[in-house]
Amino acid sequence: MKIIKVDVRVFATLRRYMPGYAIGEAKAIELPDGTTLEELRAQLKLPLDEVKVIMRNGIQAELEEKIEDGDRIAYVPAVGGG
């Protein structure tokens, strides 16, 4: 099976689920080709109700989207302000 490599970042209130990484630091992960953003979320044990937005290469993405080799992925909790 083809293996893809991606960078994953989590921010703010989601950081506690990916300990050991500095603020803004990416976790490099290898995944089977065809993995979805939802499957990666589950693998990282990020609670679904705390993930408000997912960004893939800086663009909002949906959970069912398949991840591609080299993607930069971020799971984002509720944010706002101004």
Binding site: G24, G58, Q60, V79
Partner: protein, 585 residues
């Protein structure tokens, strides 16, 4: 007792209490300040001249018992920065205290004899004027401390720093917080210069013994405020331990950077390699590590349950500054190519003390960097520029006029302004809806005027693709209308996050207003009332000479592609012109 208008005339140092005229009876907050300015100020007047006025108004629910997060004060005038109508609102102590004195608004008009400066004290017994010569040149930290030493009852301190005394277009109005820190600002648009032009260094408001705020329908108010509080307590962003409570507004830094919309090095890129080092997460880590007086959640006014403010300590735990907002971290940080959070804390303190809006101040320094006066990332050089502004040197006065004046002085064509006001922390080429707001609001480039970031970035109030132009005119107008309503309530605009996502909260917001005022309104009326405010403001600006050509983003954003998405501003002018076409229906 019906609320009154306090009219202060600086020509003869008189103060008169007037009944609220019928035409203003339903308004408060921004709706009231904009009505006052539209009715009483000649749109063509010079903002610093004798015909401009400064209107100050608490919102509908400010000062009412236990309305959560409802301490916003609206300040309105014709803006020296934009030349149009301006409302800038602030947290801090002033809103609730003005309201509890039974005042719907304070109107300040006239100008004293040249060279005369005053300290104005307002309490239940009336208004006192004192010569303020000995306060001149003082920063707001010292001024606020002196006022709390002089007056009892921990009053509200509304003041201007040295740049306000110089009547520079980037002078804001400072309001103290519950710890008497002066870091709450009606910052944007140079309203501190309007206050300075009236000869007022500082106003003190003591509400002790005041009549308080009457609640017309206590039961309805109770129902409404409970719904608002529950929505805030439930929403992941505004609840205790939520995003704002833990990280403040700077929770946005990493996210907007990830979205490629973080203005960097004078709006030449949408991602900053140093974003993490100046993010809310870093601020929180430092606060926790340093201890002392540091606090990563802090209320900027009594009764705030979101507590998005913080107190940033020095390494020894003593107080450094409150508060490093996202806007501040962007303008003083990424937009200057600076990733040093200690510099940003110091520069924020300087802005608070000198009396500057942090957004315009940081952006003006970024222009000076782009123009070759100093290198991007030069923190020592940037700190010297604050000294120039504080001391009123010729260079300091140019910088204190904001981005456009600085760009002319340094021959810079990349000028990120609309209507003379520089852009806040969201790149409109990468986030199209906020670009429509920047272009079309009467306020000049202002994110708070119609915060489409909620659906475009944060997934609040729906989800919308930030890079897509589709339907962004309608989106911006809806947010501008909702904002004009919320800015009139006295609630913090951040209640928008929970009430947009939780319908009961939206209804409760309107019910709490109806409960206090007796106005017959529900959640269905919010946008209609907001549009009434927008229309008043829009017509003022048209009379001041604004045309559709003023509702445009700067040329360079159409020409230069913004990395990392390599996008240009490509919104059709017809979309921008459609946003306020209804005003003349």
């Amino acid at each position: 007792m019906a609320k009154q208008i306090l009219r202060i005339n600086m020509n003869d140092l008189s103060a008169v209490y007037e009944d609220v005229p019928e035409k203003w009876a339903k308004w408060a907050g921004r709706g009231l300040t904009s009505s006052i300015i539209a009715d009483e100020v000649d749109p063509t007047c010079h903002p610093l001249g004798p015909n401009n006025k400064l209107a100050i108004a608490p919102g509908w629910v400010s000062g009412s018992p236990a309305a959560p997060s409802s301490g916003r004060t609206s300040f309105g005038a014709k803006s020296p920065l934009t030349g149009g109508i301006k409302e800038a609102n602030s947290g801090g102590l002033s809103s609730q205290k003005i309201a509890k004195l039974g005042l719907a608004a304070i109107i300040i008009e006239g100008m004293p004899a040249k060279g005369k400066w005053y300290e104005i004290f307002i309490d239940k017994d009336g208004v006192k004027f004192e010569d303020a010569a000995d306060l001149l040149g003082k920063g707001m930290y010292e001024t606020a401390k002196l006022m709390w030493g002089k007056y009892d009852n921990k009053p509200a301190v509304i003041g201007i720093g040295p740049v306000g005394e110089m009547k520079l277009s980037n002078a804001g109005i400072s309001v103290n917080d519950p710890e008497n820190s002066p870091g709450r600002y009606a910052g944007r648009g140079g309203l501190g210069a309007v206050m300075g032009a009236r000869g007022i260094k500082v106003m003190i408001v003591d509400d002790k013994g005041g009549p308080g705020v009457e609640v017309a329908d206590k039961e309805l108010f109770k129902i409404g405020r409970k719904k608002v509080a529950e929505a805030m307590g439930e929403h992941a962003l505004t609840k205790k331990e939520g995003g704002l409570w833990q990280f403040g507004t700077n929770v946005l830094m990493n996210i907007v950077n990830e979205a490629g919309g973080l203005p960097t090095r004078n709006f030449s890129a949408g991602q900053f390699e140093g974003a993490a080092k100046i993010s809310g997460e870093t601020v929180k880590e430092n606060i926790e590590a340093r201890g002392g007086v540091g606090a990563y959640h802090h209320a900027c006014h009594p009764g705030c349950i979101m507590q998005c403010s913080s107190i940033y300590p020095h390494e020894d735990g003593s107080e450094f500054v409150s508060v490093i907002e996202y806007e501040t971290a962007f303008s003083l940080g990424s937009n200057c190519g600076i990733d040093d959070i200690e510099y940003i804390a110091q520069a924020t303190w300087e802005c608070n003390d000198i009396g500057l809006d942090t957004i315009e101040a940081g952006n003006a320094i970024a222009i000076a960097m782009d123009g070759g006066h100093l290198e991007f990332g030069d923190t020592d050089g940037a700190l010297k520029l604050f000294d120039e502004m504080r001391n009123g040197t010729p260079l300091g006065r140019v910088l204190g006029q904001g981005v456009e004046a600085t760009a002319k002085a340094f021959g810079v064509y990349r000028v990120p302004t609309v209507k003379g006001q520089s852009m806040p922390a969201y790149e409109p080429r990468a986030i199209k809806g906020i670009g429509v707001t920047y272009a079309t609001t009467v306020m000049g480039a202002d994110h708070t005027a119609g915060y489409t970031i909620a659906p475009e970035i944060a997934g609040v109030g729906g989800k919308v693709d930030p890079l897509d132009n589709t339907a962004k005119g309608e989106l911006s107008l809806t947010f501008q209308a909702a904002t004009a309503f919320i800015d009139s309530t006295g609630y913090c605009l951040f209640i928008a996050f929970p009430v947009l996502d939780i319908p009961e909260g939206w209804a409760g917001m309107a019910e709490s207003v109806a409960g206090v005022t007796g106005l017959n309104i529900t959640g269905d009326d919010v946008l209609t009332i907001g549009k009434e405010v927008l229309k008043i403001e829009r017509l003022f600006n048209e009379s001041a000479g604004f045309t559709p050509a003023d509702d445009r983003l700067p040329e360079f954003m159409r020409d230069e592609a913004l990395p990392p998405h390599n996008v240009k501003w490509d919104m059709e002018d017809e979309v921008l012109d459609s946003v306020f076409a209804w005003v003349h229906d």
